[in-house]
Assembly symmetry: C2
Homo-oligomer: 132 residues x 2
């Protein structure tokens, strides 16, 4: 298979497949006489694995670890679970931060009349004025 076919079959763009190869996430693949990258079904499986992990928000570094464990038949599932739980914790932190922002902005917006007049507690808040 050429890279375009693998891209279509895996859901990972050709651009990213080359990038993953370059950064060592996947090994260098063999080339045709003319220099085209050649792939087989195993590569498609690996790339699908990567894509699903990306879809779940795992960083490339995490995916690197997950791939290693995936390919290690003797891995303890404990290590995989640790990575996943760590990711959940990071997501929780991100979510908490966004919610905090959201509430702050929403609060300010709630104070603003949103009419033709220039008075605006949002701008006042941003400029540091505590209250009218």
């Amino acid at each position: 298979m050429n890279i375009g076919t693998v891209a279509g079959n895996s859901g990972v763009s050709a651009k990213m497949i080359r990038y993953y190869e370059e950064t060592g996430l996947i090994p260098h693949t063999r080339r045709s006489d003319s220099g085209y990258r050649k792939y087989d079904q195993t590569d498609v499986h690996t790339l699908r694995f990567i894509r699903r992990a990306r879809d779940l928000g795992f960083s490339m570094e995490r995916i690197r670890e997950l791939l290693k464990l995936w390919q290690d038949r003797g891995r303890p599932s404990r290590e995989v679970k640790a990575i996943a739980l760590n990711h959940v914790a990071e997501l929780d932190a991100d979510i908490a931060k966004l919610i905090s922002l959201r509430n702050a902005v929403s609060h300010l917006a709630g104070l603003c009349h949103g009419d033709d007049h220039p008075e605006c507690p949002i701008l006042d808040g941003l400029s540091g004025e505590v209250a009218g």
Copy 2:
């Protein structure tokens, strides 16, 4: 005031102040004979405004709009509120997405024993196997 003082007083790094100037978020400031950027208290106010907006997660493009409205004494607060509510909507979307990821990862993690054995529903899920 030199840039370092303004940075300290505004909470915006000198690096970012130069960047904001370069990208037009703030105007070019006057220079001393030796080429040093010179600022006054008004600049500190503006930079504090920018920093607070950044802290609330507004993008530079949004801040550009907010700054323009802030400096327009005849603005209708409606426009400010619209930007804020739009930002809230974007934050809500981001939050929803992260929560969805979080739940998916957490679900997979919950299926995994996390012990010495290699069986791992997390890896199975990533590799596309529906179930054992």
